[in-house]
């Protein structure tokens, strides 16, 4: 019963590929943007070098 429920949830009446394709790519894009932003910030702070600790304390 639980198995078929999950199958229906994933399959979504034959449109599972489209619906899940839309939702997973959306979530993936949002997460990727945040990862890129964190890397960009880390890169800047590395380049700032000495002032990094001060910036971290302020932030």
């Amino acid at each position: 019963m639980i198995g078929s429920d999950w199958g229906a949830f994933i399959g979504l009446g034959g449109y599972g590929l489209y619906v899940w394709g839309a939702i997973l790519v959306t979530i993936g894009a949002l997460v990727a943007e945040i990862v890129l932003l964190v890397l960009r910030r880390r890169n800047i702070l590395d380049h700032l070098g000495g002032s990094r600790r001060r910036l971290k304390r302020e932030a």
Partner: protein, 256 residues
Amino acid sequence: MPGSAVAAHADRPHLGWTRYAAPRRFYLLAGKAIPWFFLAAALIGGAGLYLALRVAPAGAGEQDLSRIAMVHAPAVWASLFIYALLAAWAGIGLGCKSRLAAMMASALAPTGAMFTFIALWTGSLWLKPTAGAWWIWNPHPVCELALLLLYLGWIGLHVALDDPRRADRIGAVLALCGLVILPLLYFAMELWSAPQPAPVGALNALPSGNSLFGAVLMALAFWTYSWAAALMRVRCVILERGRVLDWVARAAARQS
């Protein structure tokens, strides 16, 4: 007299919103606000997805396929709203010579471009099973594609021009001219929505009840997420431009 006015201002710690027009103050405030925006986006987005996938009744006709609407429509709204916001910030930056407003505009651009991409992607996934093609030359997807090109043009301008202030000014003119896309998109949907497949008339043919509630929740989640991402990026931009200014100042000091 002007001196005393400045002193009076310095004595008052709370100056209202102008207090945060200085990048340094704004930088600190943004750092405090970012986690709350992320928390709100995660909670609201989780509730929206639950509604979209479990609670909302499958729409008539394409049934479960209509669940895409609850991601697609909010992404379209976000792409349009972020563009209007970008143009507003850029206009303020141009009109009031506000550095921070211009930085907010460039912080919004990549997030807006991403939501435009999501709108095109989800629209395409919706079109394939309903219209039989991944892409159709209809006003709605074409305007959305034009919006993506506007975003990319804005970003490219800032990458290509070495002087960020110059890029801000030219970008502001581009963004304000590009505002014409918003009424165009609206009227395109008004005029052509009736005989088209579901995605084209998404705004008019929105589901009701739980489905609409789910779409509104997703829109709110995208909205809070956009604030978090834009504030993260504006902090990077403030640091980057500050670094350039320091470097320029030091180079100038060496030369004199």
